[in-house]
């Protein structure tokens, strides 16, 4: 087998060094009844070519986003990633290294994480960011847990504009932690209802902007109301590119920001792996979950980086840790950092503007389709439209015509707003794509 270097001669010699007859002797502690006498009932080994054939056949059954006019978003966005990014993250030293527990021989990973933390903090307008979380949804759930630790309160108000699967992920965790969640009614401008839901028991309010319907909101007033009540404001961002055009959460009074970083550097990959961005104010840093890289010096006084404040983490605090989180999303964070370094502020702003421009073109095109109503007045690169018929059927009909038209809201929350479709456009969206969507939609809704 190509991944196994030992020869039979090696094995025999090594067994004799160990002083046992055969390899079975090394499994002597396994109860006899649990030892399998031969291979389990699965296919036998296969060469590269054969594996490529089998997996290639599965891959070929999927319609790729790049092969069709494509408008899906709802928390995962198709952006162009420079070739340099994928080349660099496949370098052995990044791909095949472990968590940087030995800093003297992990400075590459550690310095990249330090750059990542700084980029994320600046992008979100916050004071400090960690070395990443699994994804935006788990980051959101962790942010709520963190807010309950900070405030010692047990209630979280979730805006009706928060992605329903983020709501569900958060509720799952909150339920076992004894944290009450009050989720407000989904609505295009759901943020308007948040302030009146804040009460003296509220640990935090969770507001997404742009929200799941695409609505961009100034959350400053919500921040003020939350702070007056002694609660924290958690801002959720699922489209990181929006921050190249829209005001940063930190500038609007966010205490914690949980965001999805997939848009920068990472392909869609059917939903994962992605990279959660997590940032907060300096004074909350000791309650923050996840790994942190920090600057220090070595024995010769040279600057270097280490994982720090690790006493918050599970391997030290065990049952008193801030979270059970162990890994971060290292390689996806590296992809984010390299892509962001290539973009720089100039590139990010340009990219954001192109996204916004293409989305507006799509909006204008769809507004002209009879029976279709644009629901989101103020958006970045995604907006909701109301269709004359249930959106799932429309999307399926358009898929049959070779157009991936967007995400029906009911896909995120079955049975709710059946006729609402979420439509996203990015710099990868062409004017021809938009025309294909317009004409297709006109046909199937006629």
């Amino acid at each position: 087998m190509r991944y196994l270097p030992l020869t039979d001669a090696d094995r025999r010699d090594m067994l004799s060094v160990i002083g046992v007859e055969g390899v079975d002797a090394l499994f002597a502690d396994v109860p006899q009844s649990a030892r399998l006498s031969g291979p389990v009932d699965l296919p036998r080994r296969a060469g590269e070519l054969e594996v490529e054939r089998r997996l290639g056949a599965m891959a070929a059954r999927n319609v790729t986003a790049g092969s069709a006019p494509f408008f899906c978003g709802a928390g995962a966005y198709r952006h162009h990633v420079p070739s340099t990014v994928d080349h660099l993250i496949q370098r052995s030293e990044y791909l095949t290294s472990y968590t940087p527990y030995q800093p003297e021989i992990s400075q590459g990973t550690l310095q990249a994480l330090y750059e990542f933390q700084t980029q994320v903090a600046n992008l979100l307008g916050m004071e400090v960011a960690n070395a990443s979380m699994y994804d935006g949804s788990t980051a959101t759930a962790e942010a709520v847990m963190m807010a309950t630790r900070v405030t010692r309160r047990k209630k979280a108000v979730l805006s009706g504009g928060l992605h329903p699967q983020y709501v569900h992920t958060t509720e799952t965790l909150a339920h076992v932690a004894g944290v009450r969640t009050e989720r407000l009614t989904p609505a295009i401008d759901a943020e308007a209802a948040v302030i009146e839901a804040i009460d003296p028991d509220t640990a935090c309010v969770v507001v997404q902007t742009p929200n799941v319907f695409g609505t961009a909101t100034d959350v400053s007033a919500i921040a003020e109301a939350a702070h007056r009540a002694g609660a924290l404001l958690i801002v959720v961002v699922t489209e990181a590119v929006s921050l190249g055009l829209l005001k940063a959460p930190g500038a609007m009074g966010a205490d914690i920001v949980a965001a999805e970083g997939q848009s920068i550097g990472n392909p869609l990959t059917f939903g994962g792996p992605y990279v959660g961005l997590f940032a907060c104010t300096d004074k909350l840093v000791r309650q923050m979950p996840g790994r942190l890289a920090g600057e220090t010096v070595d024995a010769d006084g040279r600057r270097g980086f280490v994982l720090t404040l690790s006493t918050r983490e599970q391997h030290i605090r065990r049952d008193k840790a801030t979270s059970n989180i162990c890994t971060n999303s290292g390689l996806c964070a590296l992809a984010f950092t390299i892509h962001m370094s290539l973009l720089g502020e100039t590139g990010l702003r340009r990219m954001a503007r192109i996204n916004h421009a293409q989305a507006k073109k799509a909006r204008d095109a769809l507004a002209a389709v009879p029976g279709v109503e644009i629901l989101t007045p103020r958006f970045f690169n995604e907006f909701a439209v109301q269709l004359p018929r249930p959106a799932e059927g429309v999307v399926d009909a358009l898929a049959a015509r070779g157009v991936l038209a967007g995400v029906p809201y009911s896909r995120l929350e079955p049975g709710v707003m059946d006729d609402v479709l979420l439509v996203a456009a990015t710099e990868t969206t062409t004017d021809e794509d938009i025309e294909a969507l317009r004409s297709g939609l006109a046909e199937v809704t006629a």
């Binding site: 000791r286 404040l309 690790s310 006493t311 030290i316 605090r317 008193k320």
Partner: protein, 123 residues
């Protein structure tokens, strides 16, 4: 000054308040202290409660209150200078001042300096 087996100390003052901290021995065992979470002023603690956390680079330890009472002051210097615990654990590296609620009963149960020295010598 009186001591506990879990390496805290308490010193009663004339005004009925008491200062508490961790012992020199504990500080040495922890190594470089990098962070101290002192208790909130106004908090009421019972003897044996976790009332502070002290962290070195690789370990975080709960600190148990050697006495019962109300926290009236927390050492404001420790947040910016945790190294004071290493430098002077039983002096300027104090953690908090408490107004004791059961001084007479509780102080008698604690170790004298001689007892504590003998105790750590036995460890």
């Amino acid at each position: 000054m009186r001591f506990t087996k879990s390496h805290e100390w308490v010193e009663l003052h004339d005004d009925g308040a008491a200062t508490v901290g961790i012992t020199r021995y504990a500080a040495d065992q922890l190594g470089d202290v990098v962070f101290v979470e002192t208790p909130e002023v106004g908090k009421t603690v019972s003897k044996g409660d976790t009332f502070a956390v002290v962290e070195s680079v690789k370990a975080a330890s709960d600190v148990y209150s050697p006495v019962s009472g109300e926290v009236i002051e927390a050492n404001p210097e420790l947040s910016s200078q945790p190294e004071m615990v290493n430098a002077d654990a039983q002096g300027t590296g104090w953690f908090a001042r408490l107004r004791l609620s059961a001084a007479d009963a509780e102080l008698g149960e604690l170790m004298t300096p001689e007892d504590y020295d003998a105790y750590i010598a036995s460890l």
